[in-house]
């Protein structure tokens, strides 16, 4: 059974039932024509499968399979949107999905890294931040800072921190949060949260699909 999480920038796949199979990642723009999967999620997923699972449901099911705590907040920062689920006593207490004002945050971070030829893995989280409401609007702050003499790397790092703080507030400013999505691999982003962060990696939605297909745990808690 082939599972697919069809994100804006990247798609994640897992062949469920194949021994030793690991999740794979493919840039969305490189998807082969005619591709079909058995169970899909992600905002592009409806086009590639007969069975589609709502992204928030996949996130919640994935979180429930990976997190053993009774009370937690799970935040997914994707390329295009951010979403969170808050569980209290094992039940969903709150959720949010920001595809408009929180749009394009992950996409913009990746774009900036390439455009300015930066390596986030070798950079530190900055002290200061920008007040960022969305990826597109926040870029003006970078340009203004650079014009005023702030080094490019510092300006971009402040932008990334601003996005992390915005996502943190969107999730209800919890003292501890579990983080899902590709930005788990961005050390500046993870270090910029003003709370304890538990990165779960980018396969949490795939884990949710697997749980719905009857397989409880396909990845370790840090995929």
């Amino acid at each position: 059974m082939l599972l697919g999480d069809f994100g804006t920038s990247y798609c994640k796949f897992l062949a469920l039932g194949q021994e030793g199979a690991e999740p794979t990642i493919l840039p969305s723009k490189e998807l082969p024509p005619g591709l079909r999967v058995d169970l899909a999620t992600g905002h592009n997923g409806r086009r590639y499968a007969d069975r589609y699972v709502n992204e928030l449901v996949a996130l919640a099911r994935g979180g429930a399979a990976l997190i053993t705590e009774e009370r937690y907040v799970l935040l997914d920062c994707g390329s295009r949107d951010i979403k969170f689920i808050r569980y209290e006593n094992g039940k969903v207490a709150d959720m949010g999905w920001n595809a408009e004002c929180g749009a394009s945050m992950g996409f913009t971070i990746e774009l900036l890294e390439r455009y300015y030829d930066l390596d986030f893995a070798r950079m530190q989280a900055p002290e200061r931040t920008f007040s960022v409401t969305c990826g597109v609007l926040g870029m003006s702050d970078i340009f203004d800072a650079v014009i005023s003499g702030v080094p490019v790397a510092e300006a971009v790092a402040r932008f990334v921190k601003g996005i992390a703080i915005n996502a943190y507030r969107f999730a209800g400013s919890p003292p501890r949060l579990h983080l899902s999505g590709g930005l788990c691999d961005n050390p500046i982003f993870v270090a910029s949260f003003p709370c304890q962060v538990v990165p779960l990696g980018r396969f949490v939605l795939l884990q949710g699909l697997a749980a719905m297909a009857g397989q409880e745990k396909i990845i370790s808690s840090r995929g």
Partner: protein, 258 residues
């Protein structure tokens, strides 16, 4: 300037079709019904015209219900408009009344509905398709009579709190056993300024607290959603986006509601 209907005069015999915005007092609706005048509820999309045609009169970032009312007012053959600007409506309607009165060649009559006689809320508590239920409630504002033949109440499994949305498609996601709360309930009860009834919710059932984007009721919706132990706050503009629908679907599914 719009005229104010403190002492509401009977409608002139020349009136054939009028528009209403919000919920004018029962006396106004009674008089219009008695005179056989056709009432158009301008809060609902009635004409196939773009919302952009309201933009010369109202900002684009404005309540989609009132923008819709302006579009209807511009395109329907109306003899007058009764627009409620009392405590059961909002300042946005008050300013819209001023603009319509200056822009249209027909009377724009402001009313202040403080009706307090409860008509009951059987539809809000009935087992019915939620879209049909909301349509029946909004249809009710055009009649001074209580609805007849309403179904009996059902135990609720979910709640929808808020105003009738500009785009009813969001309601199609809810089960038939959804109870309506908020201003929709005030509407059926014919007491639009009853803020106590508007603030009522049922903490025993998962509830979506809905408000139109840019409406003052967003504050109340979000406040009540935070007080409710199992709630989703949602604001939607002119059309229900796919992410808004996905949020409601996920909320209901994860709450164990099919």
């Amino acid at each position: 300037m719009p005229s104010h209907a403190e002492q509401i005069p009977p409608p002139p015999s020349s009136f054939r079709e009028v528009g209403i915005v919000g919920i004018p007092p029962l006396k106004v609706i009674s008089a219009l019904n008695a005179a056989g005048i056709v009432i158009h509820d301008l809060d609902e999309p009635l004409v196939r015209e773009s919302l952009e045609t309201a933009s010369p009169y109202l900002p684009r970032v404005y309540c989609a219900i009132l923008r819709t009312a302006v579009v209807n007012a511009l395109h329907l053959p109306l003899d007058a408009i009764y627009i409620d600007t009392g405590p059961g409506k909002c300042d946005c309607a008050l300013h819209t009344a001023t603009i319509l009165a200056d822009s249209l060649p027909i009377p724009v009559i402001q009313t202040k509905n403080t009706d307090s006689t409860p008509f009951g809320t059987p539809l809000c508590q009935a087992r019915l398709d939620p879209v049909a239920k909301m349509q029946a409630i909004t249809r009710g504002v055009k009649s001074a009579a209580a609805p007849s033949g309403t179904p009996p109440p059902c135990p609720p499994t979910a709640g929808f709190w808020g105003v009738p949305p500009r785009d009813f498609s969001i309601l199609s996601l809810f089960p038939e056993t959804t109870h309506f709360y908020g201003w929709a309930r005030c509407m059926e009860n014919k007491t639009p300024a009853d803020h106590t009834l508007e603030s009522l919710y049922n903490e025993q059932v998962p509830t979506v607290f809905f408000a139109q984007s840019f409406c003052a009721k967003t504050a109340l919706a979000r406040y009540l959603a935070r007080k409710h132990p199992h709630a989703l706050y949602l604001d939607v503009d002119a059309h229900t986006s796919s992410s808004a629908k996905a949020k409601v679907q996920a909320f209901l599914e994860l709450s164990g509601i099919s």
